[in-house]
Symmetry: C2
Subunit: 215 residues, 2 copies
């Protein structure tokens, strides 16, 4: 339980951790709020968002299992964190984790790796936000979700998954409006690149074809 750690690290943490369930839509941490605990995502998707004064919002990252939640070594959260789907967390009080890190270089190394991966992801997404068209943005997003739904799939194979985000969240992730998101999804459906069952269930008959549309 509370996966993604080595057995030894686990033992040292176990005494301090606490499982927690959060329903979709609930906020886990507010922007510019004190960091008093960290959490491992066990199940579900958490969205990290930043807001502008006038209400504009941008989703700046999605956290899947087994990502660690919470900005290390900072007084305040730089983003807010909200459960995009129902979420299972493994919560650790701040002092417990920071002490473990301070005394276990391997632990810090592991977290460093995650931070660097998130940095790579963030920069990839900057390309999507800055340089891709609406259709490419949607395709890029669908590929991202598909790749996280059942890792280790064949390249061109078909794929089926459920969207963890509402149209509104997708819009805030891609820097678009809800209407444009809806229109582009409809467009991809019209081209036969994807099939929809209901509003969130997506079938991709040919992932390579989708990838080709992602720029």
């Amino acid at each position: 339980m509370c996966g993604a750690l080595t057995p030894e690290e686990l033992t040292r943490l176990a005494a301090h951790t606490r499982k927690s369930h959060v329903d979709a839509g609930n906020e886990l941490a507010g922007e510019a709020t004190p960091v008093d605990s960290y959490a491992n995502v066990m199940k579900g998707v958490v969205k990290l968002t930043k807001g502008l004064d006038d209400g504009r919002q941008q989703v700046v990252g999605l956290q899947f299992a087994p990502d660690l939640l919470g900005r290390l070594f900072a007084r305040e959260h730089p983003t807010s964190a909200e459960a995009a789907t129902d979420v299972e967390l493994c919560v650790v009080p701040r002092p417990a984790l920071e002490q473990l890190i301070a005394t276990t270089p391997a632990m810090e190394h592991r977290l460093m790796q995650q931070a660097l991966r998130e940095l790579d992801d963030a920069r990839d997404w900057m390309v999507t936000l800055g340089r891709k068209t609406a259709t490419e943005k949607i395709a890029t997003f669908l590929v991202l979700i598909a790749d996280h739904s059942q890792p280790g799939h064949a390249s061109g194979a078909a794929r089926s998954f459920e969207l963890p985000l509402s149209r509104s969240d997708i819009a805030d992730f891609l820097g678009l409006t809800i209407e444009t998101v809806s229109r582009q999804i409809t467009r991809l459906r019209g081209l036969g690149v994807i099939h929809l069952s209901g509003t969130r269930q997506v079938d991709v008959p040919d992932m390579d074809r989708l990838r080709a549309m992602a720029g």
Copy 2:
């Protein structure tokens, strides 16, 4: 020399480091190129870029002194790195730095801090790319450069600095075209928010006024 490290760390590195000067416009590392050395930026500005197949480009980060250049713990560079201005580097062979990191937890901790700061910056920039208007993007960029030119200045004070990027680079950083960048800079000049001497020298009579335009 080769600043930003503690004396002890410095001593261990000194034997392996080599100073290097790179003229503006030269590439330091290609995208998807093997990482065989790291470098500390001593002076000047390095831009990190990612490209799409069809030539579209996005600047995904700027590195100022004393940032470390090079993706740790990865085989390949996720971005290309190019000298935006003339640059002074302090180059370290890959094995030397990685061994120092492996044996000096404090060193990894310091680099972790940089990685986390860069992640914060990247996410801030995602808001700029996804949700701000052209004018706000330009204002945000000018504030960023101003803040890096002479750190620790009074809030509303005037400020004068030289742009380290060409209009084309600015466009690729902000997800705009050169023409829009030019027009918005002209607009800010017309509003009296900035004054230009030549094409790169910028005077900001009131930083708070500029900040107010950054969204």
